[in-house]
Chain length 180, copies 2
């Protein structure tokens, strides 16, 4: 129904009718339309299990792929609609902070801890700034600019190089002028 | 009124009442509430005059400061609300493409042209990818994560370093190991 009518025009009564249940049955599980859509798109914590692939580059690459997938998959208009409603409804903002932001911050902190233990970091970036650099260009590419989702995998390597520059780490493919 | 009632709850009839005019007077100039808010926030083309400060770093720094200011200034909830409505209303999307995206793309192209003429670029990035790297982290910082606007000026230098890494250009303050 999100694909058919769009985020802004989705109505709980029609969701109930399509599901063959009463509205009360839906409202027992989801207090609002926004909360329902959010829970359907994000049933569990986002990135709750940090990828562990042996290098900062591989770990951040996996994080970036998951971020891009989570933003490019929902039907058109859904992510911008939810983002607007997160700012309009405090209850949705709290739920978003808990299921998305907190888990993502912990995941990035753990990835940075492991990279530091391997001696990969010359500078330890703030996890929130790192998160902004990972999630921001994808968000802008898909919803502000808005460009083709098909190009995201290619672009992600560009965005990743920019992010890695922040940590003093070079991509495996980048020219390396420092002694090993 | 945006500050008082918020983007989602702003009603044209109340804007007219506050202005002491009839609704028709407002609708003659602005077809929709969304279009009216957009035109008030962005009366002219965004970044229509490219900064020309003698280096890629200085030019992109000026662009980033203007992007951050344009996103941090509107009342809380306005930018996410407009972004959602750009995806819901094709007329608003066209207006946004014309006044914001096109001007910004031309500005970045001109800045890259000048940097190339000065021999500052080892790689010429795609202007849209560059734009995503400039505007994305600010967007994420303010509206997705969402962190304090007061920290943006400090962060912008971090974001700028990451962006400059994409162009093969180093920040003036960064260690330089290449012969001049």
């Amino acid at each position: 129904m999100l694909t058919e009518v769009g985020y802004a025009r989705l109505i709980m009564a029609e969701v109930a009718a399509r599901a063959g249940v009463g509205k009360a049955a839906i409202y027992r599980r989801h207090a609002t339309k926004q909360g329902m859509i959010f829970d359907v798109l994000l049933p569990d914590q986002f990135l709750a299990v940090p990828p562990d692939r042996g290098s900062l580059h591989a770990d951040l690459s996996a994080v970036l792929a998951e971020i891009a997938d989570s933003m490019a998959s929902p039907p058109q208009g859904t992510v911008p609609g939810l983002l607007a409603d997160i700012h309009a409804y405090p209850a949705l903002r709290d739920r978003f902070a808990e299921k998305y932001l907190e888990a993502q911050r912990q995941t990035l902190t753990e990835i940075l801890d492991r990279a530091a233990a391997r001696g990969e970091l010359t500078t330890r970036p703030d996890p929130v700034a790192l998160n902004a650099l990972l999630v921001g260009p994808v968000l802008a590419w898909l919803f502000l600019l808005p460009e083709s989702p098909e190009q995201l995998p290619v672009l992600n390597s560009v965005f990743l190089d920019a992010t890695l520059a922040l940590t003093g780490t070079r991509s495996p493919g980048a020219p390396d002028d420092s002694p090993r």
